[in-house]
């Protein structure tokens, strides 16, 4: 990232700006432009702050005598009117000229994201495709091109945000909003809901994975396939538990009778980097904890607890789900 002058003075502090959810550690074009703009604005702000408050200290501490009325009038006119008008005009013309590019429509892939309580429904629609590839709780985008995001919500308002890639847009029931993102650097980042949406607002995140275009195409093709049949004895038993317990009334696992749409699609669950919308790691242990008592992890979660299954059957379920790559 090419940064402004202010940035150079803050090199040690830059380390503190890193992070997979950081505005200041950009991996997409929009985020990079805004990060650079921020450093310039910060530099300007620091200088202006020092000038105004330095003047205050000077007149109230260092030189308390009466100074010229002319200088004072010049200060009001110059500092209050002329200087800010010029500076703001420059800032506005640069800042607002960024908008058309950031709001430009995507050129290939389109993803429809729907905010649920408290998870994300993801529907991938590659250019020219008729039916979407349905997934959940993880956004994968190809690097180097601008993808379109169509946003909606079911019960309450959410806001879709991947800081490392670009700005956020609200998801509003009854409306469709849109934005676009142009990721540049492949890697794993994190997105999070930014509009307060109730009890577990804090626990509504998702993994955002930027991939090389070719790898992305392969991933999407795999994502469109049906679930892999269980490979082990335990997994087969786990599938039986899954179907017997009625998990399929809320969840879909393509290629099985489970076709519910209330909860997230689980067809390729184990291929995701996180579980429960960015809250837990994708491990057998986490799967068990989640299924046994989702509300202990995510207050208010809609999914009921299955701790009555007992440890053994939970193990089987986890084995089955872990195999859904």
């Amino acid at each position: 990232m090419r940064a402004g002058l202010a940035c150079l003075a803050l090199v040690p502090a830059l380390a503190a700006c890193e992070g997979r959810q950081s505005v200041l550690d950009p991996a997409g074009r929009d985020a990079a432009v805004m990060a650079e703009l921020f450093w310039w604005m910060l530099g300007g702000a620091v200088i202006l702050w020092l000038l105004v408050n330095g003047l205050m200290v000077y007149v109230s501490r260092l030189n308390r005598d009466a100074l010229s009325v002319r200088a004072a009038t010049l200060l009001v006119v110059g500092g209050g009117i002329v200087f800010p008008t010029v500076l703001l005009a420059v800032l506005l013309s640069y800042g607002l000229s960024e908008m058309p590019r950031q709001l430009a429509p995507g050129t290939g892939l389109s993803v429809r994201v729907t905010g649920e309580l408290w998870w994300w429904r993801m529907e991938y629609l590659p250019e020219g495709a008729e039916t979407p590839v349905i997934s959940a709780n993880e956004l994968r985008l190809p690097a180097g091109s601008r993808s379109e995001l169509r946003l909606g919500a079911n019960e309450v308002i959410h806001s879709f945000w991947v800081p490392a890639l670009g700005g956020k847009t609200d998801m509003i029931p009854g409306r469709e909003t849109r934005m676009s993102l142009e990721p540049l650097e492949p890697g794993e980042y994190r997105g999070q809901c930014a509009e307060f949406c109730g009890d577990s607002h804090a626990l509504m995140a998702f993994g955002a994975v930027v991939m090389e275009p070719e790898a992305f195409r392969e991933w999407l093709e795999h994502e469109a396939t049906d679930a892999a049949p269980p490979a082990t004895e335990a997994a087969r038993a786990g599938r039986a538990v899954f179907l017997a317990e009625g998990c399929g009334s809320c969840h879909t696992v393509r290629g099985t009778p489970a076709d519910g749409t209330i909860g997230p699609d689980l067809t390729h669950l184990a291929g995701r980097t996180t579980l429960a919308a960015g809250v837990l790691p994708m491990t057998a242990d986490a799967l068990k904890r989640w299924i046994a008592d989702p509300r202990a992890i995510k207050p208010g979660a809609r999914m009921p607890g299955f701790d009555h299954l007992g440890d053994a059957r939970l193990d089987l379920l986890a084995a089955y789900l872990e195999g859904l790559e």
Binding site: A16, C17, G19, V23, L24, D30, V33, M34, L37, L48, W49, V52, N53, M56, V59, S60, R61, R64, D65, A66, V69, A72, T73, L75, V76, G80, I81, L88, L91, L92, G95, L96, M99, L103, L151, E155, V156, I157, S159, G166, G167, K168, T169, D170, I172, P173, G174, R175, M179, R190, Q192, C193, A194, E195, F196, C197, G198, D199, A202, P299
Partner: protein, 868 residues
């Protein structure tokens, strides 16, 4: 407001209208008149009579006091108490966030706490604090004896106290609202439990009290200035009261209209914000932020006003650029209504709106900058003497400029998309509100305390408090900028430990406790017993404005005599001013009738017009507030019958209070006001403060109504199914009948006023009675117009918003009807006569606004949907 344009032939056949007495005598007074000494013995007798009239009730009756000096202190201490409570909530939240994945607070608890922290700081501290301090200070700044409507101040205070305890108390029972201080639907419309209802009804109740106080402050500034204090001689604080009062008047009503719709949805399932039935959650966001953004400046401008009083004293010279500051304040007020959309930059608005509101948001820098630089300029040209309040002001400037500079960043829409709803905003808003409110207000308390309590606060504790608060504040909030940039959203009760937010949050939590220590030192300084401390000097900072002519020790009369003012800094510019004031050389130095009085002057050039009799101690404000509270609080629990009964009692109490204490026929038409001037003791129409109060209140009321009409047009433009195809509309004949009846009701009220003035009292009574009957007929016709099976308000937003307009209008016609009957009763009882007709003037004024409301409602309900 005269109707001379009517048929001259008819007018000639009617008796002459009764004329009102005019002021008689010299004005302005000459230097010779002012130099005549007052006989000390006479002055002492006058002072005794004044003390008698202004005596503050003692013992338990103290709570019936209505003096601005008493009510103002209760009001500000209550607001401060609510601020401490909201601060405790903040500390508890900081404890929860100190470390990642903490379980000190549950999600539900945390969400209640941040909702109540924001709501209480905004509605129970920031706005009421301005009103409290202004009620306390304004009469002193203007050399007036009291506010124009002391019982209204007391009523507002009791409403505030009851509402505040109700709303804040809900936290203790775990039923507090948890949808954020912005209460966005559908989250809050669909939320179970009492929380949202407590928020909507409790805070609406307080908003009504806030508007009442704003009305009183505006009238106080416009009509109760001392003779000679032309509008360009007002202390800057009074200008800010005017601007902020006006902003409250236009900013709160959209929120009240929003609350009204919101509660109708929660209680009766009218789907205003439900997209399934044609509603739209964004309408609430618009109404909320049309209020919410001016709110920021409603909080910030009074603090600038406090600084504008302290800075000249510290600089020991008049303020630089008085008119520039006034223009900038007015400009800020106007601009602040054009910025609300910058709270909605991420809702997917068209680019044109984004650009416009970005530019408007940046533009507000200019008037703000002019005001700040004018203060610095004053310090440049003055010989600065650093006083403790100035330390707080300097700290405020340091903090506020930092908040302003991040504000410049936020106003840019594309940057806003990144940091909106993150901790960057939390940092920004606390920098602006601490710097633009908390620091200046505490500085103001240190500055004005000797004028209010006649003792000085401790210099040493003041410095400790400042440095603790200032340091702690920056430790807490400076790191939050980075926390936000590193991606931490607001309003999260927990966060993972592996994103790099943990150490930043820990630092913020430690800082928060340092702030708390600073605020506690201040609180201790404020309440510590000061009995042994000597009285403060009368003018300890050597200020130049009227509040430093106060009496030490305290007197309840406000000022010994209402001064003649000819300079912005009378104490600096006018030698002999204090001696004359104390001797009773100026106006109304006596209270021979034993009544509380103050002088009413003309709005622009402050020529004396009237000696107003103002109300004294009474329990009725408190009783009325309790019943009003019932009317707002009972519906929370769906006890509608109890609410109706309580509301009826509230109306009855207010009628009793008005009947027994306002617009009473005086013992003589004019009285000696001092310095050779005889002033009327009763005026009606635009000369009367009461008429101004009705006018100003109705401007606010009209704004709320306009917000509802805006709602209709919003649905029409934003929703394709408004009105839904084939929908049944309101019955056009009934709407037309209502419009006709209500127009006639207005005309008969106006006619009654004119006939009454022309001594045709019996004809006036007949017209008033007919007007009341027509108003009742209008109510019936309006309800019949929409009471159709096809217009079930729960079925779709279209019938719902039509019903909402009708309900609003009907409630107002009800008030108009009560006012007509009140005048009719007054006429029979002899308190409303051809010469004493203030009530009828006010009723007519109300009906002017009402008839417009009715006709707009008729057009929107009856005609508009057929035209769409």
């Amino acid at each position: 407001m005269t109707d001379h344009s009517r048929d001259a032939g008819l007018a000639r056949r009617l008796p002459e209208a009764v004329t009102q007495p005019e002021p008689v005598g010299p004005f302005p007074p000459t230097d010779e008149m002012l130099a005549v000494p007052v006989d000390p013995a006479l002055s002492r007798e006058q002072a005794d009579r004044l003390k008698q009239a202004w005596h503050t009730p003692q013992g338990w009756r103290y709570l019936s006091a209505v003096n601005n000096t008493e009510v103002g202190v209760w009001y500000s201490m209550t607001a401060f108490g609510f601020m401490l409570a909201a601060g405790v909530l903040a500390l508890l939240m900081r404890v929860q966030l100190a470390v990642p994945e903490n379980d000190f607070l549950s999600a539900e608890r945390f969400n209640q706490f941040f909702t109540m922290h924001g709501s209480a700081m905004m509605f129970l501290f920031a706005v009421p604090m301005f009103e409290a301090i202004s009620i306390l200070l304004l009469p002193a700044l203007l050399g007036a004896r009291d506010m124009p409507f002391p019982r209204l101040s007391a009523y507002g205070y009791w409403c505030f106290l009851i509402g505040g305890f109700f709303v804040l108390g809900s936290v203790l029972f775990g039923v507090a609202p948890e949808g954020g201080w912005f209460m966005y639907p559908p989250l809050s419309t669909e939320a179970e439990g009492l929380g949202p209802d407590i928020w909507l009804l409790g805070l609406s109740f307080i908003e009504v009290a806030s508007i009442a106080a704003a009305v009183e402050l505006i009238v106080g500034t416009v009509k109760c200035r001392p003779p000679g204090m032309r509008i360009n001689l007002m202390p800057l604080y009074a200008w800010y009261v005017l601007v902020v009062g006006g902003m409250i008047l236009f900013a709160f009503p959209p929120l009240i209209a929003g609350d009204f719709l919101f509660e109708l949805q929660r209680s009766f399932d009218w789907p205003f914000f439900d997209p399934e039935r044609g509603g739209d959650p964004l309408l609430w966001q618009h109404l909320f932020w049309i209020f919410g953004h001016p709110e920021v400046y409603i909080i910030f401008l009074p603090s600038i006003a406090v600084a504008a009083m302290i800075v000249p004293t510290a600089a020991r010279r008049p303020i630089m650029g008085y008119s520039w500051i006034v223009l900038s304040a007015v400009g800020t007020g106007f601009l602040s209504f054009g910025l609300w959309v910058h709270h909605m930059f991420t809702t997917g608005l068209p680019m044109l709106s984004l650009g416009f509101f970005s530019a408007a948001s940046e533009a507000v820098v200019i008037p703000t900058g002019v005001q700040l630089f004018a203060f610095v300029a004053t310090l440049i040209v003055g010989r600065v003497k650093i006083i403790l309040p100035m330390l707080w002001i300097a700290g405020a400037l340091a903090v506020f400029t930092a908040g302003g500079l991040t504000g410049v960043m936020l106003a840019l829409a594309p940057f806003n998309w990144q940091v909106h709803d993150t901790y960057f905003i939390v940092a920004h808003l606390h920098y602006t509100l601490f710097g633009g409110m908390v620091f200046p207000i505490i500085g103001g308390v240190y500055y004005f305390y000797p004028s209010i309590r006649k003792k000085k606060l401790s210099e040493r504790l003041g410095r400790w408090s400042f440095w603790l608060t200032f340091t702690g504040f920056n430790i807490t909030f400076l790191p939050m900028h980075l926390t936000g940039l590193k991606g931490m959203p607001r309003r999260v009760f927990t966060y993972p430990g592996d994103i790099g937010w943990d150490w930043l949050n820990l630092v913020s939590t430690l800082g928060a406790f340092v702030v708390a220590a600073g605020i506690l030192v201040f609180a201790w300084d404020l309440v510590r017993p000061k009995g042994h401390q000597p009285l403060a000097a009368r003018n300890p900072w050597n200020g130049g404005t009227l509040e430093w002519s106060h009496d030490v020790p305290a007197q309840a009369w406000g000022v010994r005599s209402v001064p003649y003012v000819r300079s912005r800094y009378p104490l600096w510019d006018d030698p002999g001013f204090l001696e004359r004031l104390d001797a009773g050389r100026f106006y109304i130095p006596d209270a021979p009738e034993g009544l509380r009085e103050t002088i009413v002057t003309s709005a622009i050039d402050a020529r004396p017009q009237h000696v107003a009799r103002i109300t004294g101690p009474s329990w009725s404000p408190m009783v009325a507030a309790v019943f009003t509270g019932g009317a707002f609080i009972f519906p929370t629990f769906k006890w509608y019958l109890a609410a109706g009964i309580s509301g009826a009692f509230a109306v009855a109490t207010v009628i009793y209070w008005l009947w027994t204490a306002t617009a009473r026929v005086p013992e003589a038409p004019t009285k000696d006001a001092g310095l050779g001037l005889r002033l009327p003791t009763y005026v009606s129409g635009p000369k009367a403060p009461g008429w101004w109060a009705v006018f100003i209140t109705m401007l606010g009321d009209a704004t709320a109504f306009a917000s509802l009409v805006f709602g209709v047009f919003f649905y029409w433009t934003a929703r394709p199914d408004f009105p839904p195809a084939g929908a049944e509309h309101a019955d056009l004949r009934a709407v037309a009948a209502a419009a006709a009846a209500l127009t006639l009701a207005w005309a008969t009220t106006l006619g009654a006023r004119e006939l009454n003035r022309r001594t045709l009292r019996r004809a006036a009574r007949i017209l008033l009675g007919a007007g009341a009957a027509l108003a009742a007929a209008g109510i019936a016709a309006l309800i019949l117009a929409v009471r159709l099976p096809e217009m079930d308000p729960t079925s779709h937003v279209y019938p719902a918003i039509m019903w909402a307009l009708v309900v609003w209008t009907v409630a107002h016609i009800g008030a108009g009807l009560i006012m007509q009957l009140y005048c009719l009763a007054g006429s029979f009882a002899g308190r409303l006569t051809p010469r004493h007709d203030a009530d009828l003037w006010n009723t007519t004024l109300f009906w002017h606004f009402l008839v417009v409301t009715c006709l707009v409602t008729a057009a929107v309900v009856g005609l508009l949907p057929r035209a769409l």
